[in-house]
Amino acid sequence: MRETVKKITYYGLLFAVCAAFLYALSALVGKKITNDFSSPMVASAFSILFGLIATGSVFFSTVSREARNLSGRSWALIGLSGCASALGVSGWYLALNVTQVVVVAPIVAVYPLITILMASLFLRGIEKVTKQTVAGGIIVVIGVLFVGFGT
């Protein structure tokens, strides 16, 4: 049982690290796009649209089977997640339009701590937020700020 939990956590870690790497790679592509073709907001909107078309095509059979049986609550939660991340991206770009990155980056960097706080408030029965997770999250955020100001 303990081995299974460990295995699941390490697979999760692997997926999370790969996601972080892909987001970094996408920042490089985004830099090329905003230098040569469009503003960040337009680039973001079209990248999401093309991402939707690609993801929808690849996962079409699973999505069409599951979507019909999905409860209203699930639709609402997933829809809210998409809206929240869209507001995140839009807020980030709009903030950079009105003020400097030295103001925006440190504020946005604290988002894992917001996730930890919200998870401890709203996901009580689903996941456990330990003191160690909070400490780790704070150290990661400080590290991200160091990396941000160091580059």
Binding site: A16, S47, S81, V89, V108, T115
Partner: protein, 150 residues
């Protein structure tokens, strides 16, 4: 007057940054709450539908003229960005959230600037300074604390 304008822009910038942090932070929590009844594939696609609707409305309302004059080549790059960020990044991020939980996965995924710095060192010839070195060490220690728990 100029100072008042600057102050207003700063406050607007801070509020928008807080909105961004709150948006990124809440997204993972909503997804985790829905995971018991839906697969990662379906969650990724449905979340992209609402993300696309919101960002398209904002982009069209603020940059309509620019959208009409986009170069055809731009769409190839948009597609590449969409594949990397969403078919790759968001799908794996949601997988991580379903396996580790929203709080742990967010802490790990937030290390993105570290990977961006590594890519910049490898491909753009940037050097590793004290801040980058210390930040890297802290991120590794933080992630270890988050992941290795009894």
């Amino acid at each position: 007057m100029i100072i008042y304008g600057r102050k207003r822009r700063l406050i607007t910038g801070i509020l928008l940054s807080l909105m961004a942090a709150l948006g990124f932070g809440l997204s993972a929590v909503f997804i985790k709450a829905s995971m018991s009844s839906v697969s990662v594939k379906t969650a990724t696609v449905i979340s992209l539908i609402s993300s696309s609707a919101v960002t398209m409305v904002i982009a069209l309302s603020l940059h309509y003229e620019e959208i009409l004059s986009l170069a055809p080549m731009a769409f190839i790059w948009f597609l590449l960005a969409g594949l990397i960020t969403f078919l790759g990044g968001r799908f794996l991020n949601f997988h991580a959230i379903s396996l580790m939980g929203a709080s742990k996965a967010s802490a790990v995924v937030s290390s993105t600037p570290l990977f961006a710095a590594i890519l910049a060192v490898l491909f753009l010839g940037e050097t590793i300074g004290f801040m980058l070195g210390a930040g890297t060490l802290m991120i590794v220690v933080g992630i270890t604390l988050v992941v290795v728990q009894e």
